[in-house]
Amino acid sequence: MRAGAPPARVLRWSAWAPGREAQADWQAWAHAPEALPFEGQAEARFLPPMLRRRCTPLTRIVLSAAFGCLAEAERSAVRSVFASRHGSLNESIELLESIVRGERISPAKFSHTVHNAQAGLFCIATGNCRSSSSIAARTDTFPCGYLEALAQLEREPARPVLYVIGDVPLAPTFAPLVPEPPAAYALALLLAREGTGSALEFGLRDEVAPAERPWPDALEFLRWLLGDEPALALGRFYWTRC
């Protein structure tokens, strides 16, 4: 029995890290990958000022990659999947600290700490009324978010799905509990069953020991996507070019 899903194509991609937004920046990085800076914010000038002010640093980064990946007409038409290991937990932690101090919390801040804040704000910013999901899976967050995007393609194979993953460094109180290099990044992929772009097979196989890399899994995937190695393994998940 096959262990993989039907192939999907990456029609387009966009990525964000401090100082790296243009496709040429990432092409250069993919040829000579190195640790990326993790301090810096996305300006997200495409957002209306009112909305931009309410966006957390993660939301700005994630929406920058999402908008960068889509033509204007596509923004309100795609279904979307958002993934983040930590999501809005930095903001949740701030609210928890307020609660412990016995303070009242801000209703607007509370409603922006849901894990699907980026999904909700993407839909609000673009007028998009299609399905939008958001997931987390500890160290498997990138491949599991990709799988959730494939699950959306399964539901409606004829329509592309936007997959966006992003994270920012965890608050200092919690960062020492998580053994991973700090990163501020987002990657957006426009996935479809048909169309022009690399066709990739995805599935699970025996676990391979995780490689120690100073950049996140999602950017390792991007490095692989822009190169010519036949296969990529991240933990027990693999991709091959068709």
């Binding site: 609210l95 928890l96 600290e97 412990v100 409603s111 849901v114 699907n116 500890r138 599991c144």
Partner: protein
């Protein structure tokens, strides 16, 4: 690969109504609203009526101590009820072919709150705290680790639609051929963050929530878990249809005309290829907030008219947020499972009976009411979350 049916083969659940299918069903169908309790430890200076799970929860086994938080214990309480069928599925298909998709909106944030208190008072985290308890992915990772499932394991967190989406994704993972069995559901726990958050939004009512009433004034919080074994195949109770939509409107308020809710319900019917007439019961999202109930009933009227028997079960268990979609799918599963001939016993809508002239006169289920079936049984459940994230599920008994 095509869908060949999606069976909800076994169900474990825990909520304020009790634990397990029999106890839950008995109190659900009786409309036993005596299960809510008062808590003064959630919002400073306030006594809140909540749907708490007061029975002791199972201990997390020592090798999984890093996952030892109340939210995971809640999931475990549901999981252990169907441990036999789950372990059989693992043995039959192999660990790598069994996936886990769980929904939550809280994960172990109540335990993180205690640890933050520890940090602020003692300068370091509580010794038993681990980040795996707080991070959303921890719930699915715990379920997978407990069972020894080695397929994909992830948590969906789309606020109050999380648990419904988990079942939708489980069906897709089977259809994609990535898994042969999926453990899917939701778990959420009462905590300071959500209680203070909804309090600050002025979304909580005094006393018990009173959905669809002219006197409704907000929601009652709850906690619980529901876990299904989801298998390919057309036997038993099926997940027939999934409808999803976004509202593109507001982070914490629903779009007032119910367009998003309508799209989700119509989506589920279209996905299943089922006519509105074939639906015998609708479990409303029915939070009891002024905005939700109005927009939801407007949408229901446009899709079904006003005759469809429907109820909100939130006055019985509270709003269990990230678990609600799975828990209310579980209530629908019980309605189908307890079918007797052509009669479906339905969970009653417990409220003060005062109609709101701004809400269409939809058919709210009375205690003891039965639905008479003319054909296969089909029931629907709505879940609408923050961020305008909607998911409707349609369940049915096998062909």
């Amino acid at each position: 690969m095509t869908r060949s049916g999606c069976g909800l083969a076994a169900l474990g659940l825990v909520s304020a109504l009790g634990a397990g299918v029999d106890e839950t069903w008995q109190r659900l169908v009786a409309g036993d609203s005596s299960r809510l309790s008062l808590r003064d430890d959630l919002v400073p200076g306030q006594r809140l009526l909540v749907g708490a799970v007061e029975r002791p929860l199972p201990a997390i086994p020592d090798p999984l101590a890093r996952f030892a938080c109340r939210n995971n214990a809640m999931a475990l309480a549901a999981l252990q009820q169907i441990e036999g069928p789950l372990r059989s599925a693992l043995a039959r298909h192999g660990a790598a072919r069994v996936g886990v998709v769980m929904g939550t909106s809280t994960s172990g944030v109540s335990d993180a709150e205690a640890s933050i208190r520890h940090v602020m008072h003692h300068g370091g985290h509580a010794p038993a705290f681990d980040y795996a308890q707080l991070e959303f992915g921890g719930l699915a990772a715990f379920v997978a680790a407990y069972l020894g499932a080695a397929g994909p394991a992830y948590t969906i967190s789309t606020a109050c639609s999380s648990g419904a989406r988990a079942l939708a994704s489980a069906r897709s993972l089977l259809a994609l051929g990535v898994c042969d069995a999926v453990v899917a559901g939701g778990a959420d726990t009462l905590c300071g963050l959500t209680s203070n958050g909804f309090w600050s939004l002025q979304a909580l009512c005094e006393g018990v929530t009173n959905p669809c009433s002219r006197n409704r004034s907000g929601l009652t919080l709850g906690e619980g878990a529901a876990v299904f074994l989801v298998l390919r195949g057309g036997e038993g109770i099926q997940l027939l249809g999934v409808g999803e939509s976004s509202e593109a409107h507001h982070m914490s308020a629903p779009e007032p005309t119910g367009a998003g809710a309508e799209a989700a319900m119509r989506g589920a019917l279209a996905d299943a290829g089922v006519d509105p007439d074939a639906v015998a019961y609708l479990n409303l999202h029915g939070t009891g907030t002024p905005l939700n109930d109005r927009m939801e009933c407007l949408a229901v009227e446009r899709v079904f008219g006003v005759a469809l028997p429907q109820s909100s079960t939130k006055p019985l268990v509270g709003h269990t947020l990230g678990a609600a979609g799975a828990l209310e799918a579980a209530f629908c599963w019980l309605v189908l499972d307890r079918r007797e001939g052509d009669a479906l016993a339905l969970p009653p809508h417990c409220w003060d009976g005062v109609r709101d002239p701004e809400i269409p006169p939809v058919h709210l289920v009375e205690k003891g009411e039965l639905a008479r079936l003319r054909g296969p049984a089909c029931v629907m459940t709505n879940s609408f979350g923050f961020g305008g994230n909607n998911c409707t599920l349609l369940l049915g008994a096998g062909a």
